[in-house]
Symmetry: C2
Subunit: 492 residues, 2 copies
């Protein structure tokens, strides 16, 4: 195995990890207190307040104690930042299980699954008969998804899109030219404001189209956060409203667009930056043929054209944006429809958005890269090929990063599919669909995910949601740090 | 679209193409004469001789007339070499259709499919009830597969593994250190001798294990050439002989090993170079878990352990070596078994062998590349990472070539799967299996390929076999040259 230890000082890490743990606990603790505020609107739910207030307070106090020296952290290196991001999602999910265990009486594994699914914006669920649960618990899921969504946007723009990485070059360049992101605190603030405004727009649009206020709030939060958790078992299909479907499609697309694009749209009061964005263009480039073919496959099995088109558009957008809202039972879709949705889920939304998957910028770069390869084979030696996408020039290193990420993503996907097929005798289309959904943080399901699934498969899906959300490398670095560095560090 | 024309002189190309066409016609013409010689062993087949002798003579004469100036070709550039390789397989297949049309009374499209399948070493077939056909026709298929096998090895070591390409670095280095390949003519000669000797070994082993001489000859040729065409509908399963299965496994593995490795084994009279070869090692690295899981999945559906293991070993080797021999009906395999075999077919055999697929060296490099990426994320800046596989150091450019090839391969695979599913309502597992088989030049089938399949799907599979055999880029360069350069050239 690789010999990392001689390069790395593990005692530095312990200090960073302790402070980080403290900050996560404080953050989740504060988050815990918000659902309890719903008691003003729903006074009969006062009996559930302790299940939020107590873990919230405990988490804040313990967190503050752990991170009492946090002012001393000055310089966090890339490896530490990656490990921290991976650890944040693991720990936040663990801290958040209390209401599921105490109110819904779910086992620890199922509760952890639910929390990981919520924090990663996946939306696969261990719960059914959702309307029977208190509003406070349903809000808790939506709230985690909303926070997880803004969280990953900030992590993506700071840690995941790291220096020397293709997506970084693209978005740093844009950010700098706009002078919106001179430092991290400002970045966070501007993006958070945009996120909040868009959420309120969603609540308003849902509300005027006939949703109740609670449903409007939760679905706007999980729609824009591309989380996809609903307050109804039938998801958006519960409302049987084309207008609500349309609002949802709008929110899902907004959530899957890089947030620096939103900034420019807001600032310039023009839709131009939206349609000029290369990731937005490619999203539609993939959606149009996929929607046509899915609709065609639905008509082939006897659906009406209008129904087929509505289902195809909604579910294709839900898949590529990695939201996971449904308006009908996807387990009844023909295999080719499942396959096409799975491909969209693997592609995913824009880098720098709340969406998951491989991300559109990477797929775009690979597609362009193929053209460059053919050009270089055809043109005589010495002919100069410009590796440009839009206004940005990419190096071979950028392209390599993209491809190596994609390879790793596909390798995990295949391993997950194989495991699912061997474990629950699912056929290939269903296994691919469900695994693409978990790893891409989508949440669409053909029914493999349920409380009845084997415990080891739940564990595998938790792992897939986690690595998918952190774009794999962070989690691999985390795992290697824990298993190879920690033991050595402790022995010193 | 790209503007190639200002860089390329098309009139040069016409000259090269005409001479090349002549050479191909001469070569296929000579090949045509060989099956006719079988008349000595089977005198009652004399009535079929004209169907080989006449197209053979015509082809030789027309070819000689076309290439009468061939001595003038001095310098062929990379693009021309790639186009030539792609064109060779297209034209050779077209010239070879006569016996199928005249003896088997097959339509042109089916005959062309059969010839493309034979020349590319795929083995998918439009024919059934094979034993009813004359020996001469059955030999013609095997003979094309054997020639196609040695042909692709030579093309791979000269054109496909082009300068600056990872696999080239590896095998040029080996070749040079062995001093076996100072020039192209010597390369061809040494490799041809090894190929011939191994074929004769195969004939002998089949014969002493109870095969008739004709079957021993044809199966040794299509086994070592990893073509997989049989003289029986049940393929190797016809013989019901564990010994013959074992000989076949031996031949398939030999055919899937880089031929410079064979050279070293022969020269050093030692098996060390075989087991030291990185591609051989990775072949077993993939085979062992795949065989275990396929056998497990067969036992799960009620097979005996002995039967399951025998089927798993045989078909896994047949898949990864891209041979396509079967010993049982794969359409009855559980989906997870089909999926695993499809993955092996996509991986494929060794570069510089007769096998197809992505090739083991590329998969190896991608796997190692992932490790390097993680190392570079974990180690502090400035730490030097050695990009070594075995004794060879790879550049980022090498890795990029490998990944961009793999991406393109997978893109074509997905397009083929989608087309198959939409066109014949196959489920995902079957469509993936059949397309992986066609594009990987394997020839295993779950039954989608048959004379009854739609004409457009036959055309798609012909295309997939062709691009798979030429490692895609050659064929893309060919297509671009024909559609974008030729019209401009003609207009001048
Ligand atoms: K989701
Ligand atoms: K084959």
């Amino acid at each position: 195995m690789l010999d990392f230890r001689k390069h790395i000082n593990v005692s530095d890490d312990f200090f960073v990890v302790r402070n980080l743990t403290g900050s996560i606990l404080e953050g989740v603790g504060v988050a815990y207190l918000v659902p309890a505020l719903l008691v003003w609107a729903y006074p009969d739910e006062i009996k559930y307040v302790p299940y939020f207030a107590l873990p919230g307070m405990a988490s804040i106090l313990f967190g503050a104690w752990l991170s009492r020296h946090s002012s001393k952290i000055e310089d966090v290196n890339l490896r530490q930042a990656m490990v921290a991001a991976a650890f944040t999602w693991l720990l936040a999910s663990l801290v958040s299980v209390v209401p599921f265990m105490k109110i819904a009486h779910m086992p620890l594994l199922d509760s952890y699954f639910e929390c990981m699914s919520a924090w990663t914006g996946t939306g696969l669920t261990m719960m059914s008969n959702l309307q029977s649960y208190p509003k406070m618990l349903l809000f808790w899921r939506a709230w985690m998804q909303w926070l997880g969504g803004i969280g990953i946007v900030l992590v993506a723009l700071t840690v995941l899109i790291r220096p020397g990485v293709a997506a970084a070059r693209l978005y740093r360049a844009e950010a700098r030219s706009e002078r919106i992101l001179p430092n991290l605190v400002n970045t966070a603030k501007v993006i958070f404001e945009i996120y909040l405004v868009l959420t309120l727009v969603g609540v308003y649009l849902y509300y005027i189209n006939g949703m109740g206020l609670f449903d409007a709030l939760t679905h706007s939060m999980t729609g824009l956060g591309t989380g996809g958790m609903s307050t109804h078992d039938e998801s958006i299909g519960f409302f049987h409203s084309p207008a609500i479907n349309a609002v949802t499609i709008f929110l899902m697309i907004m959530g899957a667009v890089n947030f620096t694009v939103h900034y420019r749209v807001f600032k310039n009061r023009s839709l131009k930056p939206f349609f000029a964005d290369i990731q937005v263009r490619y999203m539609f480039f993939f959606l149009i043929p996929a929607v046509s073919l899915i609709a065609y496959s639905l008509v082939q099995v006897g659906d009406s054209l209008a129904n087929a088109l509505q289902g195809a558009v909604f579910h294709a957008v839900s898949a590529i944006s990695c939201t996971g809202f449904q308006i009908s039972d996807l387990s009844k879709y023909p295999e080719v429809g499942k396959f096409l949705l799975a491909v969209l889920m693997v592609i995913g939304g824009g880098a720098g958005s709340t969406a998951g998957g491989i991300k559109l910028i990477r797929i775009t770069l690979m597609y362009e890269s193929l053209k460059w390869t053919i050009e270089s084979a055809i043109l005589p030696k010495g002919a100069v090929i410009k590796r440009k996408v839009g206004n940005y020039v990419f190096s071979e290193e950028d392209i390599q990063e993209v491809m190596s990420f994609t390879m790793t993503y596909v390798a995990f996907l295949l391993a997950g599919v194989l495991y699912t097929m061997l474990r629950v005798h699912a056929n290939l289309a269903d296994a691919l669909f469900e695994v693409a959904s978990a790893q891409g943080n989508v949440g669409l399901s053909v029914g493999i995910t349920s409380p009845a699934m084997p415990a080891d498969l739940k564990f595998v899906y938790i792992l897939l949601m986690w690595i998918g959300r952190l774009e794999i490398f962070s989690t691999l670095v985390f795992i290697i740090s824990v298993f190879f560095l920690l033991p050595g560090g402790l022995r010193r």
